[in-house]
């Protein structure tokens, strides 16, 4: 049942939708999930692969999270919810985690799902291919007393463990397919076998990935959708057009330029939801290379913070799809604190600080010349770099923009060959997982991206992060992380700009699209087209 929205232009669509709306309101209570329908979603760039772990690119996660499942999933407050694990217990000393697996769950090829698969995934598959979760699971000894029970033993308590068992951090893969093979070159990677609500059907290069319903799914009666098409459309304007005309019913993350989202929001046949990024908690910042002259001095970094109007960035660059970031930890995290120094937009203060440093403006008002390597991820980030150049220019810091492509950008940042650069990074569900790596001294590894490339080093911060990671008591961890946030913000380790709230845009008749912390990376078992 393809949506029959006629193509005669948006005015007709408005009329139809209005009628639909009225019906919807009336029959709300009685709305029963209806079965059937094809979901078309945009997906760009075309993912390199479709098995989580072997590839961690955002475009891989979207389709793959419908095929594979993790032991747990997380709600909007990042509280663990059951998935492949029906129930679980954590020992008081935080060293032993016991999971009781669901019975009668089968892989897409019909083979039964047992604890052997979990042990293989956590001890062999993930440490081998999954760079982010490798350190987490190297801490645990995993054993399977029987077919449906798995026990993790830790040497020392590890706070983030309970929040690292989702399908993205810990995908459960079929042991009978991967055991003993070269995981990266296993032919199954091209047509993966999972336990999830949708099975892989076909991948036409340059065109689409097609998933079909898994009729033998362990949640009876689910999924409601017949099949899902992920269509590769290279041009963002074309993607917006497809959404508007109903050829596509779902667009996620930065498929659609934020300026278009503001326009699409007003259309009656579309809904926009910015929730669902709690698990990822992406933050965008301006990184300064502390190994180089002007950035060493904290006053210069404070001047930069004062010179940037982060409200303008939120409203005119991200068109409101963002929240001003106050510090290194995302506001949706339980360990977040707003009790940190603030840097309102105050160019005069910035100039005062620069004068204090002895950087006097020359004949045409230039105090110092620096360069900025902007994130080359499309037109949105170009505008951000343009704004930073202009804003800093007003306080006498002349910025030269260094255009580059992704490979050049990654290469120069990893090798510290840059003055300033803009980027964004997911801080994940736990500071120990996604935040510490950017600030602790021992994670300064030349040539490796997303490490402590800014060169910030503060023994006190290192100590606090180490302690917080091992502390089993959540309240104690919050206290430690609050101290760390105060130091980092006062030190302006980075010029945090905004917390990103990527919009998910979907057809008004699509229900349960964003209903937990994983957002669009949920397995869509509960998604359905309302009649």
């Amino acid at each position: 049942m393809k949506t029959s929205l006629s193509r005669s232009g948006s005015c007709l669509a408005v009329a139809l939708a209005l009628v639909g709306l009225v019906l919807f309101e009336a029959g709300h209570a009685a709305a029963q999930p209806t079965r059937g329908g094809t979901l078309n979603s945009t997906l760009w760039p075309e993912p390199p692969g479709i098995v989580i772990g072997i590839h961690l690119n955002a475009p891989t996660l979207l389709p793959s999270s419908k095929i594979f499942e993790g032991l747990l999933t997380y709600d909007f407050d990042l509280k663990p919810q059951p998935m492949l694990a029906e129930t679980w217990q954590v020992s008081s000393d935080g060293l032993t985690y016991t999971f009781h697996l669901r019975h009668n769950v089968n892989w897409h090829d019909g083979k039964p799902f047992t604890s052997k698969d979990v042990v293989f995934s956590l001890t062999k598959f993930i440490p081998e291919v999954h760079p982010r979760s490798r350190p987490t699971f190297q801490r645990a000894d995993v054993s399977a007393p029987d077919d449906y029970t798995v026990v993790l033993k830790l040497k020392e308590p590890y706070g983030p463990m309970i929040r690292s068992l989702d399908v993205i951090s810990a995908p459960i893969v079929p042991a009978h397919i991967y055991e003993g093979t070269n995981y990266r070159d296993n032919p199954a990677n091209r047509h993966p076998i999972g336990t999830g609500p949708f099975k892989f059907d076909e991948w036409k290069s340059g065109q689409y990935i097609h998933l079909v319903r898994n009729n033998d799914y362990w949640q009876k009666g689910k999924p409601y959708l017949d099949d899902i098409y992920y269509r590769f459309i290279p041009d963002s304007a074309s993607r917006a057009l497809a959404l508007e005309q109903g050829e596509v019913q779902l667009a996620t993350q930065n498929d659609i330029e934020l300026v278009d989202v503001a326009r699409l929001k007003k259309l009656p046949n579309l809904r926009v939801d910015t929730k669902g990024w709690e698990w990822g908690s992406p933050i965008s910042w301006l990184e300064m290379n502390l190994r180089r002259a002007p950035f060493k001095d904290v006053r210069f970094r404070k001047a930069v913070m004062y010179a940037l109007d982060r409200n303008f960035i939120r409203d005119s660059i991200f068109f409101g799809m963002a929240k001003v970031a106050t510090g290194p930890i995302h506001s949706s995290s339980p360990f977040y604190t707003s009790d940190v120094p603030t840097y309102p937009y105050d160019p005069q203060k910035a100039k005062a600080l620069l004068d204090e440093m002895g950087l006097k403006p020359d004949a045409n008002g230039i105090r110092v010349k620096v360069s900025l390597l902007g994130l080359p991820y499309g037109e949105l980030w170009d505008r951000l770099s343009q704004y930073i150049k202009q804003a800093l220019g007003q306080v006498g810091i002349e910025v030269t923009l260094e255009p580059s492509d992704v490979a050049g950008w990654g290469n120069r940042i990893a090798n510290w060959d840059v003055d300033m650069s803009t980027t964004y990074l997911t801080t994940l569900s736990d500071p120990a997982l996604g935040v510490a790596r950017t600030y602790i001294s021992e994670n300064q590894k030349k040539g490796v991206l997303f490490t402590n490339t800014s060169g910030y080093s503060n023994p006190e911060v290192d100590r606090l992060f180490a302690e917080a990671a091992k502390e089993p008591d959540q309240a104690k961890r919050k206290e430690l992380y609050t101290k760390v946030q105060k130091i980092l913000v006062d030190d302006v380790a980075l010029a945090w700009l905004v917390e990103l709230q990527w919009p998910t845009i979907y057809d008004a008749r699509l229900k349960n699209v964003i209903h937990n912390g994983l957002g669009p990376n949920d397995n869509f078992a509960d998604v359905y087209f309302e009649k």
Binding site: D235, A237, D382, R383, K389, Q390
Partner: protein, 278 residues
């Protein structure tokens, strides 16, 4: 020269092209006077439609589109002229040597030129820009490296034909050195077709720059028409003026250059202007 000018004037198209080109050149030269200040600076609210304070509207950062077009003229023309100049320089040198000396020199240089043609020219330009870090200089070099082969082929055929003309042989008999012969005897006579082709190449260079910017390889530090159309692509639907005005500017300039080129062509080699009817 007056004779050539008079003949160019007769061609209506060339005159129209000349006028438009003159206007654009004035914009390029007197940009700071027409639209003072930095065209990249925010002036008003973003995405204002044309009219009132901003006759061409504002872009997503609130920058004045008119200022962008006026300053953009300078960069686009600069790219067009510089890359063509470089391409003509390489092309004519290679073509002249191959055409004039012939023999194995000719064979080697022809093979070398042919090699450049096997690589898809636009992909090669993108590769060069990526290698040399996107920026004005790399765009100019990339376009030049990709567009010199046709000029080399033309120069080679011109030099080959003129080399056998009797006045060149007379110069050889008079003991004039080969270098001087190339400069004083052959080059002036080979100039007219080269001038016409290079005028068309300026137009193509501007188009290539706009395509590169469209694919995100423009130089963000300098505002150019290609960059403006490229940046406007995402809001193509609701802010039509962001891409229409720069697009028109590109089209008009390329049109004008072509008309002038065509006028030059008719003037320099009049027999080409022939007729079919008896």
């Amino acid at each position: 020269m007056r004779r050539i000018l008079r003949r160019v004037m007769q061609n209506r198209g060339a005159v129209a092209g000349g006028v438009v080109l003159a206007v654009i050149l004035v914009c390029a030269v007197a940009a700071p006077l027409i639209a003072p200040g930095d065209p990249m600076a925010t002036r008003g609210r973003p995405l204002l439609p044309p009219g009132g304070q901003f006759p061409f509207g504002t872009d997503m950062l609130g920058r004045d589109v008119l200022a962008g077009i006026v300053h953009g003229a300078r960069i686009s023309l600069l790219i067009g002229v510089m890359s063509t100049f470089a391409a003509v320089l390489i092309g004519v040198t290679v073509g002249a040597i191959a055409g004039f000396f012939g023999g194995w020199v000719d064979e080697v240089l022809v093979r070398f030129t042919e090699f450049f043609q096997t690589i898809p020219s636009f992909v090669f330009a993108i590769l060069l820009v990526a290698i040399m870090r996107p920026g004005l200089a790399s765009i100019i070099i990339a376009i030049a490296v990709v567009t010199w082969p046709p000029i080399a082929r033309l120069a080679r055929s011109e030099f080959m034909s003129i080399r056998h003309r009797e006045f060149v042989e007379a110069a050889v008999l008079s003991g004039v050195s080969q270098g001087r012969i190339i400069v004083t005897e052959v080059l002036p006579n080979a100039a007219s077709p080269l001038i016409v082709v290079s005028s068309l190449m300026v137009a193509t260079a501007i188009l290539t720059e706009s395509a590169l910017s469209f694919l995100g390889l423009g130089d963000p530090n300098h505002i150019s028409w290609g960059y403006m159309v490229g940046a406007a692509r995402t809001v193509f639907r609701q802010a039509w003026w962001l891409s229409v005005f720069p697009g028109l500017a590109i089209a008009l300039t390329v049109l004008a250059i072509n008309l002038v080129g065509e006028g030059l062509n008719d003037a320099l080699n009049p027999h080409l202007k022939g007729r079919i009817g008896a």
